[in-house]
Amino acid sequence: MLAFVLRRVALIVPTFLGVTLLAFALIHLIPGDPVENLSGERGMDPARRLRLLHEFGLDRPLPVQYLDYVGQVLEGDLGSSLTTHEPVLQEFRTLFPATVELAFFAMLLAVALGLPAGILAAIRRNTAADYAVMGISLTGYSMPIFWWALLLILFFSVQLGWTPVSGRIAVEYDVPAASGFMLVDTLRAGDWGAFRSALSHLILPSIALGTIPLAVIARMTRSAMLEVLREDYVRAARAKGLKRRQVIVVHALRNALIPVITVIGLQVGLLLSGAILTETIFSWPGVGNWLIHGVQSRDYPVVQGGILLIATIVISVNLIVDLTYGVVNPRIRHA
């Protein structure tokens, strides 16, 4: 087990460095003058340009620049936004909880519905229930997220008026930002109206974002269960005279969960991709929205920092998933 953990952690280092290299290269690959790109100023006089060139360290050889960059990153200095002039890391920290809250609920939905659906489809193989689950799942991951989000808004917000169209909370509420998680903060403040408002704002975006992970989880659970149900130990468990439910939950599910957990973990990367689109549509103040505005307004420090941070988070989550897999799979845990 220890060897497994060490190996996995060791693998992170080159991947992380690779990502920093990518982020570093980004600035230099963008067409145009790096000085202009990094400062946001156009048409400077040569003296100022020279000064900025030196300030940004752009006059030094590339490898040195890269090392400087890595050093800065490790210290937490990711530059400042060209539009707001706030440090990139700080902006990210402020906006990240919104994305996490959204992703969390999306994932909760995906697992709470996807897992049972997959199990049901496997147990009732080739029946109407199975085809229904598979059909819905297939449609789910064949849909563009942003269209699905629009449809949801069209139906639930516009036609039925049940849910709000955008934002995290109704304008009239002013919640002190403590943790950054709206549901937590509103509860802390004891403001029920605000809590309900936050919840209602959370519903549609979570559904939109969680649909694709739901579809994938349902599918993978079904195929994992089908494989496990064919195994000898399931037959042997039945031969012991165990109740059907016992066989399925205690033996089949436990073994099927091993690959499924990995799949669930890998959905996080997908969630962050989807968050970019979902946040745009629902005007959700998270990092996805922030990143897109950065790209559209050529705010390169934001783009560079955002990509680096998001990639780092994905890598870390993948590591946690890997380690969880090692714990859950007895062959690795008790090697």
Binding site: L11, P14, T15, G18, V19, L21, L22, L26, L29, I30, P31, L138, T139, Y141, S142, M143, P144, I145, F146, W147, W148, L150, L151, I153, L154, V158, G269, L270, L272, S273, G274, I276, L277, T280, I281, L291, I292, V295, Q296, V303, I307, I310, A311, V314, I315, N318
Partner: protein
């Protein structure tokens, strides 16, 4: 004790074994979903090819008097079956021409990424050692980024536009093909027919491409089909964000970008382009699944 003798009865010839293509078709046709997917895909291809003849209007022509006209069955002008958009363009025609665009994007992106992916994968799998490690680490880095994020990064560098979007999508797909090809190459390399080919004097390049590759084809074909639908979704996403096809191109994703504004007044502007994407992606996903099921037993051969 009786001797075991050969029977002198004539052996009747069995039914002629079906050729591999017919055999494959039988397996593929087992799944109704796969057939439906194929039918839709063929219809879409025909739509794309004959867009000029089939579309009632030009996708760019603006009928200023009839902006945001509803579909024909909701009381709109019967000339515009699915209604018009914000600047008065016929939605149906734009959708039909959009088919051409989307299929093209999918085809080119997948073609590019397959080429790079296969070459890199074969090199990595065949040469092993440092070459393999470097290539695979690079792929890991690419996979560490959520795919849309990577595509956005590439577009951020190259600038928005249809061609650049294609490059971006192609780049995003490459790691999957590299991984697949490398795994298949490593498995095949150990097989005997490769050894005998080597003994016969075939050089490494020849061994790589003419001996090993044909046997890795099956999983690649499946992945390529699924990659096709993934490419269409990514292209639509980039179009939606304004980073892909630029107006006035009738790309489905960018058609949806304007829709948000008019969602309350003109819901048809939202529904139809998305429906087009859904149907197309669904068709190719069904095909990909059908291909996987049909080729699977042969994969295990």
């Amino acid at each position: 004790m009786i001797e075991v003798e050969e029977s002198l009865e004539a052996v009747e010839p069995g039914p002629r074994a079906a050729g591999p293509l017919t055999e494959f078709w039988h397996a593929y046709a087992q799944s109704r979903g796969a057939l439906v997917g194929l039918a839709i895909a063929v219809a879409l291809v025909l739509l794309a090819i004959f867009a000029g003849a089939l579309a009632p209007h030009s996708p760019y022509e603006q009928y200023r008097e009839l902006t945001l006209s509803p579909p024909a069955w909701q009381g709109g002008d019967p000339r515009f079956l699915l209604g018009t958009d914000a600047v008065g363009r016929d939605i149906l025609s734009r959708l039909i021409y959009g088919t051409r665009l989307s299929l093209l994007i999918g085809l080119i992106s997948v073609a590019i990424s397959l080429s790079f992916g296969i070459v890199l994968g074969v090199i990595a799998g065949y040469l092993r050692g440092w070459t393999e490690t470097t290539i695979m680490r690079l792929m890991d880095v690419m996979l560490a980024l959520p795919s849309l994020l990577l595509a956005i990064a590439v577009v951020a560098i190259l600038g928005p536009g249809l061609i650049n979007a294609m490059y971006a999508i192609a780049i995003v797909l490459v790691p999957h093909y590299v991984r697949l090809t490398r795994a298949a190459v490593i498995a095949e390399k150990a097989r005997e027919y490769v050894l005998s080919s080597k003994i016969a004097g075939a050089g490494p390049l020849r061994v790589m491409f003419s001996t090993i590759l044909p046997n890795c084809l099956a999983p690649l074909i499946v992945q390529a089909t699924l990659g096709f639908s993934s490419a269409i979704l990514d292209a639509a996403a980039l179009g939606f964000l304004g980073l892909g096809a630029q107006p006035p191109m009738p790309e489905w994703g960018s058609m949806l970008a304007d829709a948000l504004e008019f969602i309350q007044r003109a819901s048809w502007v939202v529904t139809f382009p998305g429906l087009a994407i859904l149907v197309t992606v669904l068709a190719f996903n069904l095909m990909g699944d059908g291909l996987r099921d049909a080729l699977d037993p042969r994969l295990k051969r």
